[in-house]
Amino acid sequence: MAATSLKTGTDRPSRMLGRSSASRSLDPLMQWILTGMAAFILLLIAFFFVRLFVEAKPAFDEFGYFGFTFGSDWNVAKNIYGALPLLTGTLITSAIALVIGVPVAVAVAVYVTELCPQRLRQPLASLVELLAAVPSVVYGLWGVYVLIPKMRPVETWLSDTFSFLPLVGAPVAGPNLFIGGLILSIMIVPIVSAISREVILTVPPDHKEASLALGATRWEMIKMAVLPYARSGIAGASMLGLGRAIGETIAVTLVIGNSPNMPKDIFAQGYSLAAVIANEFNEAASDPLHRAALIAAGLVLFVLTLFVNGMARNYVHRAERGQRQVPKGMAA
């Protein structure tokens, strides 16, 4: 191995120590620009909130905060705006979405991570993720022309069989709250299952191996070792799904019926906070109070999603952090 002497007398670096390089001045510039971008985001969100509130204020002034949010009359003709029917519609459809969607999503997550043959794991997971790639307007289109007609007999049977339950028993309208909830449930499956899958993957293998070594069946191992560990993470995933369901607009407005009456039956037509904004904003353009009411509905929607997503994030973070704690002395 040969080595040659590389040193010449002319470009000795130590001679350059005293000089400051012109290109260095770009460093503070870059830092300023990037920090400015980050700060801009904060200002943007703050501005966001303030403007929404300012524009919504006329509605709150007219009906009061409580009166608007929980007023039970949304009557465009009479210019009376109470958001309770919308709020209730949002909650009902979201609840249906959770009841149907979460078990399916968690089942998918468990199946793909624990039971599925190795070769099928990625393909199955990708297929479920494809559900998320479908735009909401396409879900709406499909809902109107396929789901509503096809589900009618099922809904009629459900309505008759369970008519003893509150909110069930009325004749089935075409577009209705139930279909809205059903479409939402399909839309939240990919996100709930993806996050649940991540959470389940963080279950330490030793937990699982310990229960298998005790002679547990696969399902017993899942019940004993996986689900309890992943519980709070799955709860968080469900809440993120809930947040998504609350905010979904286009698919819902196409299948929910857009009727502003207080919902009395899940098989009757209904409305939601998001749907009303998309549906009525056109006609509200000329009516300042109507417009303010729509914006106020948007504000209520925003606050609701903030709340739900905030809680969801808490759960997911807590789940991830808790799982990273390893007892002292044990290698990770």
Partner: protein
């Protein structure tokens, strides 16, 4: 293996005839080579690093305390000690990389030539051009070819007026890698073996012609054969550079270093010619460490 004695070798004849560009450099190198190590002032060629009262902190943790020592020009100085003794921290203070860690700072003086690299008027980027570093894990830039990796130093440091192709060839020769890669300079840097990658990183470092090369456990991720090649390379490199090497491997220090400094819990315990450290150290703690009583 015998510890090195204080005399260093003069470069073999066939290498000397290749120094057509700078004959005076060779004479200077010879002069330095025949100087003894400790206590004698090397000629004013600016390759000595003098550290005076260096302190280093991680937040409130006073990790390195009051270090004063001299890294002699054209010598290999090893820094040894148990984990957490501060040797890597001291190394990173020598090219001001320590302060890149959040909440970390250093105080004291580190003199390269007559300039204190911690002086407020000094440009830290220029410091790093003059004092290069080779890291523990070989890390060629993954998106670049072999040629571009070596040239990266020139481009990143903004060095102009240099014939890039010639400099890359010189550096690869200097790192002992030229013969192995000269036909595939365009292939990716990460396609080489571990030992070759580390030599590539060394070529990258010397391409900017630093004064000092710092090495942070350069062989700990390599197999024994690759390690041997790097150690031979260090032997050659010290002709042109001052080398400071941190190593966990005492035998390696014994093989390559002219002088060795022993650190413990943030203090410099002893700095002496390698032979002395390993056979008859002054401090009992040094003796305990090198004889394996703790580590």
């Amino acid at each position: 293996m015998n510890p090195r004695d204080t005399e260093t070798q003069t470069p073999p004849a066939e290498l000397r005839t290749r120094d057509v560009n700078a004959p005076s450099e060779t004479a200077m190198a010879d002069a330095i080579a025949s100087a003894t190590v400790k206590g004698e002032q090397p000629p004013a060629t600016g390759r000595t690093l003098n550290v005076d009262s260096l302190q280093a902190y991680y937040g409130d943790n006073h990790a390195v305390r009051d270090i004063t020592l001299t890294y002699a020009a054209n010598r290999v100085t090893a820094m040894i000690g148990p984990s957490g003794c501060g040797k890597s921290t001291v190394l990173r203070c020598l090219n001001r990389m320590h302060e890149e860690i959040p909440n970390a700072r250093a105080e004291g003086q580190v003199m390269l030539d007559e300039i204190d690299i911690y002086d407020s008027k000094v440009d830290v980027v220029a410091v790093r051009r003059a004092i290069g570093m080779v890291f523990q894990k070989p890390n060629p830039f993954p998106t670049m070819s072999i040629f571009d990796n070596v040239a990266a130093g020139l481009r990143l440091a903004g060095i102009k007026g240099v014939d890039t192709k010639q400099r890359v060839e010189e550096s690869l020769r200097g790192a002992g890698l030229w013969e192995e890669v000269k036909d595939r300079l365009g292939s990716p840097g990460i396609g080489l073996s571990g030992g070759q990658q580390q030599r590539l990183c060394i070529a990258r470092t010397i391409a900017v012609k630093p004064e000092v090369i710092l090495m942070d456990e350069p062989c700990s991720a390599l197999d024994p054969i690759a390690t041997l090649k790097i150690e031979e390379l260090i032997e050659q490199l010290k002709r042109d550079y001052t080398i400071v090497i941190v190593t966990h491997n005492m035998q390696q220090a014994a093989r390559v270093a002219d002088t060795t400094a022993f650190f413990l819990l943030g203090d410099l315990v002893e700095h002496a010619p390698t032979g002395k450290i390993f056979s008859s150290p002054d401090d009992s703690r040094t003796e305990d460490y090198v004889s394996g009583k703790f580590g």
